[in-house]
Amino acid sequence: TFSPSEGTPHLTINHNVAADLDSSSAFEGPEKLLEVWFAPTPDSLPAGAKPNGLKAVSSETWVSVLDMVNCKILSVLEAENMDAYLLSE
C-alpha cells in the first residue's frame, strides 16, 4: 500500500490544454531563462509581503503573464515551498 508522506507534492493537470496539444507546427530550441527574486530567502520577505509571498498568487493570475509569453499551463506540481508549472511550447 502506498502511503505518501506529507511532503509528497500534489499534481493537478489542466485537461483543457493538455489533452489535445499538438506540437507539429511548434518550433523548439534553446530556452530563455528568467529568475526574478524579491527577497534573498523565503524567510526574509520584505514587510508588507504576504506570508507565502509569490506562492499566494493563484495559477489563474499567472495565466495573464503566460499569455503574454505564449505559454499555457499543462499541469502544476504543488509542494509546500514551491509550485512547479509544466507549460506548453
Binding site: F2, P4, G7, T8, P9, L11, I13, H15, A18, A19, L21, S23, S24, F27, E28, G29, P30, E31, K32, L33, L34, E35, V36, W37, F38, A39, P40, T41, P42, S44, P46, G48, A49, K50, N52, G53, L54, K55, A56, V57, T61, W62, S64, V65, L66, M68, V69, N70, C71, L74, S75, A79, N81, M82, D83, A84, L86, L87, S88, E89
Partner: protein, 410 residues
C-alpha cells in the same frame, strides 16, 4: 517550458518562439498586487503600472540557433539587453564562451543597484525615475545559504537516444511495459493460485505510470499472450471516466522511467521526489521534478528547502537540443554534481554540451584567498567520460561564482 514559483522568487524557462521578456512587467505588477511586495513607482497598487522592485534578476540563454524565427525582443542578445536595460537600471550583460562557437549569455542585476520598473504598456511610458530596489538586509547576510544552479545545455543529440522522445516510440514502450506487467502478474497469480481460469488479475500499484496502467490492465483479463501484446489503449481513446491523466502525461512518465531520467534523483536518496512529465505529439518532452526536503531525517536548516529540476527535449535531428537544470545541491548526502552531469549526458549522448554552475559564495563557504574545500568536487567535472573539455571560464561576481564549461564528443 516551465515555471517555478517560490515564496521569494519566480523562475520562468521558456522554449521555442515564446516571448518570455514580454511577460516581465506583468510579473512585477502581479508581485506587487497579489503578493504584496513593495513597489515605488505608483501611488497605489491599483495603478496597473505599479511594479514590485525585485531584489535580484537573472536572465540567461544559450547562443541563438534560429534568431530570425524569434519574435519580440528575442531576435538578438542586443535587443534583449536593451529591453532589460529599459526595465532595470544597473544591470550587467555578459557573453561567456567562444564568440564563433557555442556560447552563453547572462544578464544580472545586483541587490545594490537601482531598478527602473516601467509601465506595462510600452506605448505610454511614464517618467522612468530611478527607484531603489528592495535592499533590506537580512539576518542571513543577504543570500540563501545553499543557492546553486546547475544547467546542462546539449545539442546534436545521438539520433538513437533522441528517438525515445517521439510519440510513436513512447507508445511502443508503454505497450511493452503493460505486457511485461501483465506477464509478471500472471506468474504471481499462477504461483499463488495454481489456476488462472475464470479469475481476474488486479494489480495495485504506486506511481503515476502504474496508476495509468490500472485501467488498461483490466483489458488483460483472460487474454492470451498473443492478445496481450497489442492491447494497449491510448488514453485519448478511453472514455472520460477512464482518463485519470492525459496521454501526454502518462507517456511522459513512461519515458521518464525508460530513459533513466527518474533515476537522476532516485527515490532511494530523495524519497519524496516527484516528476511531472509530458510527451508532446508528435515529439518533444518536458519534465519538472520536485525534491522536497526530507521529512524525517536530521539535516541542517540550510538543507530544509524544496528543490527542483527541469528537462526539455527537442529531438528533431535538424535542431536537436536538450536542457537539464537543477538547484538540488551537489554532494552532501545526495549525488555529486559530476554524477548528475554524467547521468544526464548519458541519457542524451549529445555531440556538444555546456555546463554552467552558478553558485552563491555563501554556498561553498570560503573566501577568495582560501583553498576551497569543494575544489576536488568541482575538479571531477573536468573529465566527463567520452568527452573532451574545450572551455572552462570562471566569472567571479560579488556574491556568486559562475563556472562555464564546454565539451565536445571525443
Amino acid at each position: 517550458s516551465s515555471m517555478f514559483v517560490f515564496p521569494h522568487k519566480l523562475i520562468l524557462k521558456t522554449c521555442g518562439t515564446t516571448t518570455l521578456l514580454l511577460g516581465l512587467r506583468r510579473l512585477l505588477h502581479i508581485a506587487a498586487e497579489h503578493a504584496g511586495f513593495p513597489f515605488h513607482n505608483a501611488q497605489s497598487v491599483d495603478d496597473i503600472h505599479a511594479a514590485a522592485s525585485p531584489y535580484r534578476v537573472f536572465y540567461s540563454r544559450k547562443n541563438f540557433l534560429f534568431p530570425d524565427k524569434q519574435p519580440g525582443p528575442h531576435r538578438s542578445w542586443k535587443e534583449e539587453v536593451k529591453y532589460l536595460d529599459d526595465t532595470f537600471a544597473g544591470g550587467s550583460a555578459y557573453m561567456v564562451g567562444k564568440m564563433n562557437g557555442d556560447h552563453w549569455y547572462l544578464y544580472i542585476t545586483s541587490p545594490d543597484v537601482t531598478v527602473t520598473p516601467r509601465t506595462l504598456d510600452e506605448t505610454s511610458l511614464p517618467n522612468s525615475s530611478k527607484i531603489p530596489t528592495n535592499t533590506a538586509p537580512t539576518s542571513k547576510g543577504g543570500l540563501g545559504n545553499n543557492d546553486e544552479t546547475l544547467e546542462i545545455l546539449m545539442t546534436d543529440l545521438d539520433p538513437e537516444n533522441a528517438k525515445q522522445f517521439y510519440l510513436e516510440h513512447a507508445n511502443a514502450v508503454a505497450s511493452d511495459r503493460l505486457y511485461l506487467q501483465a506477464q509478471e502478474a500472471r506468474k504471481m497469480a499462477i504461483g499463488n493460485l495454481g489456476d488462472l481460469s475464470g479469475s481476474t488479475i488486479t494489480i495495485k500499484t504506486t506511481s503515476t505510470v502504474e496508476s495509468f496502467s490500472d485501467d488498461a490492465l483490466d483489458v488483460f483479463d483472460n487474454c492470451s499472450d498473443s492478445d496481450l501484446h497489442s492491447s494497449y489503449t491510448p488514453v485519448s481513446e478511453q472514455t472520460d471516466a477512464e482518463c485519470m491523466t492525459t496521454e501526454g502525461h502518462a507517456l511522459g512518465t513512461v519515458i521518464s522511467d525508460a530513459c533513466g531520467l527518474s533515476e537522476v534523483y532516485p527515490t532511494s536518496k530523495y524519497p519524496d521526489a516527484r516528476i511531472d512529465a509530458y510527451l508532446f505529439s508528435p515529439c518533444g518532452f518536458s519534465a519538472n521534478g520536485i525534491i522536497p526536503a526530507p521529512q524525517n531525517q536530521e539535516v541542517a536548516d540550510s538543507e530544509k528547502s524544496t528543490h527542483y529540476f527541469t528537462v526539455h527535449v527537442t529531438p528533431e535531428p535538424v535542431c536537436s537540443f536538450a536542457s537539464f537544470e537543477t538547484n538540488v545541491p551537489g554532494g552532501q548526502n545526495g549525488r555529486e554534481t559530476s554524477e548528475i552531469v554524467e547521468h544526464v549526458v548519458g541519457i542524451f549522448k549529445p555531440g556538444r554540451f555546456s555546463v554552467t554552475l552558478f553558485e552563491a559564495k555563501a554556498t561553498h563557504g570560503y573566501d577568495d584567498d582560501e583553498i576551497p574545500t569543494s575544489l576536488a568536487r568541482k575538479k571531477r567535472l573536468e573529465k566527463i567520460q567520452g568527452y573532451r573539455r574545450i572551455d572552462r571560464i570562471v566569472h567571479d561576481f560579488d556574491d556568486y561564482e559562475l563556472i562555464f564549461r564546454f565539451y565536445e564528443r571525443e
